[in-house]
Subunit: 313 residues, 2 copies
């Protein structure tokens, strides 16, 4: 049995494949396009190849909002292919799913309604305190069939009330903290329009951040922004416009870690970096804090440029 | 591959066997003695039988503090058998493990030091707020080998500090709430002696509870108490001393649910009931609240007796 996903999917796909006994080697990673999306034709070809091998294409994991670049897979097209070949479609909208609350940006999630299962983490974009993760499935009885054990000391059949409210047996853990209560409370407090404002502000700030990166010569965009993720390099003077020199890649690889070391010791800005496939270390700006202003963005970029200029002359 | 455990083990053993792909049918339940413990000779015979079938005895799950009766498996004897046959010994001390803090009662855990892995839930006996569960393994690198994926956006190899403190990759979930902090804080506040007093008080209260059950004619003990669990029946007058009548079992089965229905509507006492194997529905008193007094115990028993007497004349 084979699980198919994008090479930029979250690593938890590999982890659950190992954990559930499918094996990581049965997760096939599909190459992505220049902004990090699955190519639907390539997915269909991969399903046909799996069938030709005599194996079963069990599930496709599509991502709405990849971790690093914030890419959105074309879920609508993917869902048509999954339906045609009777493959389960799981949509990992852990990061992107919060967009549901924004009239302006929710179209990025088009096609999600055709999924068999969806994950959305309100603790990500919607800033609900850690942890709060939702798994939605279309079959209302599925979780009970998969997870119930009917422990007699908990799920007595001779209770005097309607025990359909005893939902513990639907879950892996049974007794646990009710994390979704935090989300419910926040929704009551802020309203759907409060979440929408939060999201629209984050998207505006990210757009401003991207424009600054494009307009300033010391920075370079990794790929076109699709979400609140902005991925960029700081370029030392001697590397600007020099992408053709032989050790450009290895030189650039060293830049972000050194800037980050100074930045963390300084204590004003915390920004992550990582490589991705053949791309050398780059910074990833990603914010779930809608109180962040354009002035803050300017401060962050000035700060990085100042450290970069002093380290790399 | 076969997992061996007691027929009174926690149902999570079956759940993880299903979840990890071993299959529930490969969990063999061993019959227990009259108080709910595994018989070591029977365990060894079962291991030999598995080997004879040509299968692999993978793991034994021993329980220190079973959920319903609070039974303690003879872990020392079990560990010798596991070592001899090279079988992994997992000790489920979720409920009983808190006894470590009591000089007076910790001998119930003797043998736990020989386990390959141990679970202790401070949110149970030690009353740390839900949820707080610890998995201890003897091999310090095991969790990393099993769970790490080395995601490049988190576990960069070119960090400027000692990244051995980045422990997220050892766990299934990676990013999560730090539940053990609650336990640490409580330990700092109460001290080991505070936990010891808590436990010794709970054990004293349970002993008093058991004595009352034995001395009052309207109650009957299910089996000798080993822990803070006290399992008992309320006996309607017409069933006292009548265990030889043909419908004794089915009559007794109906008693606890009816008393509980009235009790919950009344709102003063909340006490669970369940059947166990061939034993009809009984009440299970189990407390992690060391503020509970002997007067409270008297109140609980009087309350049950009063409801029982009015329902069953």
């Amino acid at each position: 049995m084979v699980i198919m996903t994008s090479e930029e999917c979250h690593y938890s796909t590999f982890k659950f494949a190992a954990f559930l006994g499918f094996g990581e080697e049965n997760v096939y990673s599909l190459k992505t396009n220049e902004v990090g999306q699955i190519n639907p034709e390539q997915l269909e070809q991969s399903i046909l190849d799996v069938l030709k091998e005599g194996s079963i294409p069990l599930m496709v994991v599509a991502t709405l909002g990849t971790t690093v670049r914030g890419a959105f897979d074309p879920v609508h097209e993917i869902s048509i292919i999954c339906k045609k070949h009777k493959v389960w479609l799981h949509v990992d909208a852990a990061w992107g799913g919060g967009l549901l609350f924004s009239q302006k940006h929710r179209s990025k999630l088009n096609g999600i309604e055709a999924a068999n299962s969806i994950v959305i983490n309100p603790h990500k974009l919607l800033a609900v305190p850690q942890q709060c993760s939702m798994l939605l499935v279309t079959d209302p009885d599925l979780l009970h069939r998969c997870h119930s054990r009917g422990a007699e000391y908990l799920f007595q059949k001779d209770k005097y009330y309607d025990s359909s409210y005893d939902v513990g047996d639907r879950y892996l853990q049974c007794g646990r903290k009710c994390d979704v209560f935090k989300f419910w409370l926040m929704w009551k407090a802020k309203g759907s329009s409060g979440f929408a404002n939060h999201i629209d502000t984050l998207m505006d700030t990210a757009e401003y951040f991207e424009k600054q990166i494009i307009s300033r010569p010391e920075f370079m965009l990794v790929s076109t922004r699709q979400y609140v993720n902005v991925c960029f390099w700081f370029l030392p003077r001697y590397l600007r416009g020099k992408s053709n020199i032989s050790d450009y890649h290895s030189q650039l690889q060293k830049v972000a870690p050194q800037i980050k070391a100074v930045m963390v010791k300084h204590g004003a800005v915390m920004l992550n970096y990582q490589p991705l496939k053949t791309l050398p270390n780059f910074f990833r700006f990603v914010s779930q804090n809608s109180a962040l202003t354009r002035q803050d963005v300017d401060f962050i970029l000035d700060h990085i440029a100042e450290i970069g200029d002093s380290l790399f002359r």
